[in-house]
Symmetry: C2
Amino acid sequence: METVFSVSLPPWLQDLLRSFKQSFPSAEEKMKWVIGLSRRNIEHGTGGPFAAAVFEENSGRLIAASANLVVYSGLSIAHAEITALSLAQKTLGKHRLSSHLSGRYELYSSCQPCAMCLGAIPWSGMSALICAAREEDARQVGFDEGHKPSDWIEALQKRGIDVRTDLLRSEAAGVIQTYAERGGTIY
Amino acid sequence: METVFSVSLPPWLQDLLRSFKQSFPSAEEKMKWVIGLSRRNIEHGTGGPFAAAVFEENSGRLIAASANLVVYSGLSIAHAEITALSLAQKTLGKHRLSSHLSGRYELYSSCQPCAMCLGAIPWSGMSALICAAREEDARQVGFDEGHKPSDWIEALQKRGIDVRTDLLRSEAAGVIQTYAERGGTIY
């Protein structure tokens, strides 16, 4: 019976982050980079067409990044958002990132979150969620996004979590479409 | 920047599972054991008053077990259900437990799932969810269960996941109450 589980980023992403020096002057630059990760994830065959990253709001500094690693890690929780949030918590050494004494952190995701990742966001201490593709872009090729409350955006906002959607949507939706056309596993 | 994260069960639970031989003839016996884990988790000071376990339906064999390990692991995802599901997937070597060719697996939880754990259940391949305490028992002492669709039980059932609630509810709610009375961290 296993008593430990772990998720490791694939070698290509570890290599990319090891010598990371890029800076991100704008929301568009951050999202473009995240969508680039989703593309590389399918090119390297390490998972589905989704990526996410956590940035410090004021500085624009990258805290953690990930891609969809469900099949790669053998864990159904290993969506891009769940793994990016967890790696950000490890990097900063606390299980709730934003607090009244600390900075504000933003989650950039190449697609609107599924029901699980949506539920994870308030517990993680994110101050903002920024999404590119819509859930219907994922649903259109067969991905299951789960059963989410229809007012999920308003519910996050009521908790003080800013939400921005459709940032570079067509670019991110294009990666999802490419994955489907290449016959990638839909789960 | 961290590129790996892991969750390990605390030593007391690893020791308990290492030489595990107990069998569970009934749903009540399974739930009583899971509630016992939630109680031991607060006695050992390793987390909140919640526990969960995955059993193979036909044999009643225990596949994996966990407790709430958010503070212990430094990860906001480390709820009892998320960690039990992930450990079960590691134990059986697949990211979706039930399939048309394999057995059926049940998740026993000492409390109804929060929004994140609820969203995780369909991805994990569980065939059934059995809960003891209600979410209002957790909310009553200040735990945040998140924003769940009001028809979450019906939505799981529509996906073919059986749901049973209130099994030994008062016993599990009592552990939550004890934790709160002792001044345990509410997060």
